[in-house]
């Protein structure tokens, strides 16, 4: 087999696949953040905790109700999304007339509380969740585990459906318009506060969906979201706050960049995304796909 810059193709492809997997999670999570930020101007710091809740609720459904992975894939976003609706109605909606900073502090505090509660109940060592589609296929140049292929394909599909809904449908037109002028959209007869509540629920549901996808790959752990969300925020900043396409493209793209960095310069792989973020902030502060606000 050929070698590329002294790197065997198996290692390269393996890291590329890992990068794509990470990218799938970056994309799904930053997509939810983008949807929420676009309409609500709230930087949802609870997002990581809600991703973790997704994984935990999937685990609980299996453990206590015997509901398998495929059922969880449908139920968990609805259940965790509903908790998001309650949080928005009870707490976040009281902060819209204040500075953004208050929403950020509230959601950050909520994340700490939620993670603390789960750690108290389940400890921090992590819980196993078995792989629903074991096995895989040898593609000649690499081995593709079925489940990882499924994660990449499914999250790409979810991203595209979300993009289509926002950019190409009537409902999406309401969302885009309300992002610009909520007062005017409401004066045209649309119940904007209800739309905002549901949007937050959908954004949280996307985080929870990512959590279900992650459960069989990573251990179900109270801190799994806190570790990931920092990178996801960097992805959001690079893609452009509130940009749907930006979060999808940069999510997958940065996952791949990170994977390649692991091959060619392993020491830099943990920081490469933040280096890119710093460069983007200097050259194009609104992000690669963002519009200046």
């Amino acid at each position: 087999m050929f070698e590329l810059l002294g790197v065997p193709p198996q290692a390269l492809m393996g890291q590329l696949l890992l990068g794509l997997i990470n990218g799938a999670f970056y994309a799904l999570l930053s997509l939810g953040l983008a949807v929420i930020f676009g309409l609500m101007n709230v930087i949802n710091f609870t997002h990581g905790a809600q991703y973790m809740m997704g994984a935990f609720v999937a685990w609980m459904l299996l453990q206590y109700a015997g509901i398998p992975y495929w059922g969880a894939l449908v139920l968990v976003p609805v259940i965790v999304g509903a908790t998001g609706v309650v949080i928005e109605r009870l707490l976040i909606s009281r902060l819209y007339h204040l500075d953004h900073l208050y929403g950020l502090l509230l959601t950050f505090g909520l994340a700490l509380i939620i993670e603390g509660l789960f750690r108290q109940q389940y400890g921090s060592s992590g819980l196993p969740y078995s792989n629903p589609i074991p096995g895989g296929q040898n593609l000649g140049f690499m081995f593709l585990p079925w489940y990882r292929g499924w994660v990449v394909g499914f999250s790409l599909a979810v991203c595209l459906v979300t993009w289509f809904t926002i950019e190409r449908t009537k409902l999406g037109a309401y969302l885009r318009a309300a992002t610009e002028r909520p007062d005017l959209v409401q004066a045209f007869g649309i119940n904007v506060p209800r739309m905002i509540t549901l949007t937050y629920g959908v954004g949280v549901g996307l985080a929870a969906l990512a959590g279900v996808l992650a459960a069989p790959i990573y251990t179900v752990n109270p801190t799994m979201g806190a570790n990931l969300i920092i990178v996801v925020f960097a992805v959001v900043v690079i893609g452009g706050m509130g940009s749907i396409l930006g979060s999808i493209v940069t999510g997958f793209g940065l996952g791949i960049v990170e994977g390649l960095t692991k091959v060619f310069w392993p020491e830099a792989s943990a920081t490469v995304i933040f280096v890119i973020m710093a460069i983007v902030l200097m050259v194009r502060p609104q992000g690669l796909f963002g519009t200046p606000r």
């Binding site: 318009a177 002028r181 007062d183 005017l184 409401q186 004066a187 045209f188």
Partner: protein, 234 residues
């Protein structure tokens, strides 16, 4: 005056802490075109936003078709049959011309259909896939008016539709307003330019410091010219 479609009495309005409207009282009959004239900062735009329920706080009475609207939110007021074309036009940059046009939902039957709107404003058909804010100022104004004609609203609040536009476009908007009046729409128009107002309106309310100080029927506008000039400071 015909049967009153809109009756506003002792309307007070606030933006945050600042008290802008101090007891606005006026009526608009069904099928009438009525203007609010006044200097900058008199409270004309605020009155429109107050009727539409777009202020942080309003008190007093706004009755529409006999129904009290003062406690309702703006989306409920829209459903009652009132539509606004705001001063800054409010064309959405992230929506195409057609999406802008179709954005306001139908609130009842009787609005113009898309084909009728395109006949009225042929430019909008040609440019239906362009980004809303890529249109010229005049076209954006047409779009802002056009999109509230399909909803079935009977009362249109047009806030300075001629502001900053070339004379030929202003004439076109004047013709449009007269046509809408003939179609049966009731219109409240905010204007700085009373020469334009005189060509389209039945009556004029003069607004100062957040309340109505005079009402002048269009027929006696000529004889009231000096008085009006003093009011408006022109």
């Amino acid at each position: 005056m015909a049967e009153a479609l809109l009756q506003v009495s002792d309307l007070h309005g606030w933006y945050g802490e600042s008290h802008i409207l101090h007891g606005m009282t006026f009526e608009v009959g069904r099928g009438e075109v009525v203007t609010l004239l006044g200097r900058n900062g008199a409270g004309k735009t605020t009155t429109m936003r107050a009727v539409m329920g777009m202020l942080t706080k309003r008190t007093g009475s706004v009755r529409y078709q006999g129904r009290e609207l003062i406690g309702l939110k703006s989306n409920q007021i829209a459903k009652a049959g009132i539509a606004i074309c705001p001063e800054e036009r409010g064309i959405f940059a992230s929506l195409s011309v057609k999406e802008n046009l179709l954005l306001p939902p139908r609130v009842k039957d009787g609005g113009l259909d898309l084909e009728a709107i395109y006949r009225l404003f042929p430019n909008l058909r040609e440019r239906s896939t362009s980004q809303g804010t890529k249109l010229s100022g005049g076209e954006q104004q047409m779009l802002a008016i056009a999109r509230i004609l399909r909803t079935g609203a009977d009362l249109l609040l047009l806030d300075e539709p001629t502001e900053g536009l070339a004379p030929v476009i202003v004439q076109q908007i004047g013709a449009t307003i007269r046509m809408l009046r003939e179609t049966g729409f009731t219109i409240v128009l905010v204007e700085q330019n009373f020469h334009f107002a005189a060509t389209v309106a039945d009556r004029h309310y003069v607004v100062e410091h957040g309340h109505v100080i005079d009402m002048i029927p269009n027929a006696s506008l000529e004889s009231s010219r000096d008085k009006l000039k003093a009011y408006l400071g022109v």
